[in-house]
């Protein structure tokens, strides 16, 4: 089975890694933003499911992956709106609402799916990809990394954009302050609620796009609970990135590639239980934490509602 790792297989593996990476990247990026602003989205997975469902409908009926992704973003924002109203505006507990949102989204999307597609199981035809000139000629990487739906590159660009935003724009500064010392931000005359609202909505949009990518491009169909815990992994990645969004790319790629490697090992006939392989990413992180025991940084006002004039 050693002759197995032919160019097409390697290409497929790398492509597969990207398929798994992209939704995670979007979700984790969104979560980083809202965590920076002090809002913990335990319901991230729910936002992804909303996005996946809305996006799938869009792409299916309007026959445009872009419209689909756009609707996915709206779907995610719709879910995020629940967080905004209950947690940011009404200052209710973020964990309760987050879990509620997750369960609610799981329920609603499967419900709708059953009612809408229960007997037809429609699938979306192959969505067109773009080839990055020249680069797409590179063996293996060319056909995989540089032959993707544009949204992939948009996503990576978005990470850089957010990175730049956090350091160079007022919005970014406000974001960081809102998660660290909202009272200071408030004293400086910036509306904390508004800042957090925008952050959570952005998170919803990104998570939604991630979900839509999953249903439209990665799977080509919507199946209930298809996010398979990606949202929760997104939360972990966002925290591991410690607010340094660039890490999100690396970490989510690591995750994607580990899945592809597990496939490769199986194809090579290596006899490891998939359970073991599934554990590897998490075990690695735990090991890293144990060895280098770095105090994982979190915004000090994370998951705390802000009340003006409180000591």
């Amino acid at each position: 089975m050693s002759n197995l790792l032919t160019e097409p297989v390697l290409t497929a593996l790398v492509a597969g890694a990207l398929l798994a990476m992209v939704p995670l990247m979007f979700a984790a990026l969104g979560e980083s933003i809202s965590e920076r602003a002090g809002v913990l989205n335990i319901g991230l997975e729910g936002m992804m499911l909303f996005g996946a469902y809305a996006g799938f409908n869009g792409a299916l009926y309007i026959h445009s992956s872009w419209i689909g992704l756009l609707l996915g973003a709206f779907g995610g924002m719709l879910a995020a709106l629940v967080m905004v109203v209950l947690c940011v505006w009404m200052r209710l507990d973020q964990i309760v609402v987050g879990v509620g949102l997750f369960l609610f989204a799981e329920g609603v999307t499967s419900l709708l799916h059953g009612a809408q597609f229960g007997d037809s199981y429609p699938r979306i035809d192959h969505v067109s990809e773009i080839e990055v000139p020249l680069l797409s000629k590179i063996p293996v990487l060319g056909e995989s990394v540089f032959h993707q739906h544009p949204i992939v590159y948009v996503g990576i660009a978005a990470v850089f954009l957010v990175h730049w935003m956090l350091r160079r724009t007022s919005a970014g500064l406000n974001l960081r302050a809102a998660g660290e010392t909202p009272s200071a931000l408030d004293a400086a005359g910036v509306d904390v609620t508004r800042t957090r609202t925008l952050a959570v909505l952005a998170c919803g949009a990104l998570a939604g796009i991630g979900g839509a990518y999953l249903s439209i491009i990665a799977a080509g169909s919507f199946t209930p609970m298809m996010t398979q815990g990606v949202g929760f992994i997104g939360i972990v990645l966002a925290m591991l990135a410690r607010g340094k969004v660039m890490w999100v790319i690396a970490l989510s790629f690591l995750f994607g590639i580990s899945l592809s490697i597990s496939t490769a090992l199986q194809l090579a006939g290596v006899n490891i239980s998939t359970d073991v392989i599934q554990m590897l990413p998490y075990v690695t992180v735990i090991a890293v934490l144990l060895l280098f025991a770095r105090r994982s940084y979190l915004p000090s006002a994370l998951a705390l509602p802000y009340f003006r004039g409180e000591r």
Partner: protein, 379 residues
């Protein structure tokens, strides 16, 4: 003026009525429980109507099958045993502001372990010794699974949401490895552990279908309540929870406390897993994961980490879970609809919580009149 010196001004404020919450606090639990339920029934009722189902029939069926039939109420109580212990475990951690989000991993691992060895242990030692021993073992496994997050938190301040979530995923996978490996029966079918014979499970209470687990659970909840509200340990955990630096300053040994809280949390969750296996399931199936832990997180919060209030909340969710399946089936809906119901319920519960807080604030401000009079007399 002179009276100021003779009679210290402090007297006036002390006499001033502290924010008068008394009447409210009595009514509160009732309101807290009823209102959100009604609201979510209303909301999902509308949803049902839209889906062309009869809401009244639906809720009737939930009540009937979850509470009103002997059978239903017994099943609900059985489910409560599992959920209560789990919730108790979360209370202990949350009180100390330790976000043990990995409850499911701890629960499944303990369950798999217990289910794996129970048949031989209980068979060998007999129920009198075997069953209690198995519950203890479940507790130990659950506690063991919190060691890594606990140590990382206590000695390096590594955020426990990350670590418990991680250990959660690992725990789930490990549970599967156990049932597909060392604990696997040689029987065909879905990989699972050997079945613990019915007559070797937790004893049923007086001819009913309710097993002794509920007694363990309620007892533990009472213990938790007393410990948290009356004992030094409880107070220390609360202090650690609300201000870590203060805990250091006051000499509460934060590191040790962190370890204790995590261990206790994991142990209770492990007990829950054990009770569930020894009581109702009798065997652990590969990829089994009812995700009770996740559901209990918000429930515990809404009960404001009060053990007694938690019992009431858990009862509600148990009835919904038990009655819900039949109700959805009869209404020809997927069981997923229950998730919608639960989600709505959680939303509305938090909202009523919000109004409670608002009401208290308003009342508090209203209480200025008498104090003002006090101010007069000082001048």
């Amino acid at each position: 003026m002179s009276n100021v010196v003779t009679e210290p001004p402090v007297v006036a404020p002390v006499e001033a009525p502290p924010a008068p919450r008394r009447p409210l606090t009595r009514l509160e639990p009732v309101v807290q429980a009823i209102v959100p339920v009604l609201l979510s029934i209303l909301a999902s009722g509308v949803l049902l109507a839209i889906l062309g189902r009869d809401p009244f029939a639906f809720y009737g069926n939930i009540l009937h099958n979850g509470l009103l039939t002997d059978f239903g109420v017994q099943q609900s109580i059985v489910r409560m045993a599992t959920l209560l212990l789990l919730a108790g475990g979360l209370i202990v951690a949350f009180r100390a502001n330790l976000w043990n989000i990995g409850g499911d991993g701890q629960w499944l691992l303990a369950a798999a372990f217990v289910a794996g060895i129970a048949p031989s242990v209980v068979g060998g030692l007999g129920m009198a010794v075997g069953l209690p021993l198995m519950i203890v073992i479940g507790a130990v496994v659950g506690a063991a699974w919190t060691i890594v997050p606990a140590v990382l938190k206590a000695y390096y301040g590594v955020n426990e949401i990350i670590t418990t979530l991680m250990m959660n995923f690992v725990g789930i996978a490990l549970a599967n490895i156990l049932v597909k490996g060392p604990f696997l029966t040689d029987k065909p079918g879905v990989p699972r552990t050997e079945i613990l014979p019915l007559d070797q499970r937790l004893p049923m209470l007086g001819g009913s279908q309710i097993h002794a687990g509920i007694i363990v659970a309620v007892a533990m909840m009472l213990v938790i309540h007393v410990v948290m509200t009356r004992t030094p340990l409880g107070l220390r955990l609360r202090v650690l929870g609300s201000n870590h630096r203060a805990a250091v300053h006051l000499g509460l040994r934060p590191q040790r406390l962190t370890l204790i809280a995590f261990a206790a949390s994991g142990a209770l969750i492990g007990m829950s897993g054990a009770v569930s296996m020894l009581g109702d399931w009798g065997s652990f199936r590969a990829d089994f994961n009812p995700a009770y832990g996740l559901l209990m997180v918000p429930v515990v919060f809404l009960a404001r980490m009060n053990a007694l209030a938690t019992i009431a909340f858990v009862a509600l969710f148990a009835v919904i879970q038990i009655g819900g399946d039949t109700a959805t089936r009869l209404a020809d809906l997927p069981t997923a609809f229950i998730l919608v119901l639960v989600g709505l319920l959680l939303f509305f519960m938090t909202i009523t919580e919000f109004h409670r807080v608002r009401r208290q604030r308003r009342l508090a401000v209203a209480s200025r009149a008498p104090r003002s009079a006090g101010a007069e007399e000082v001048r």
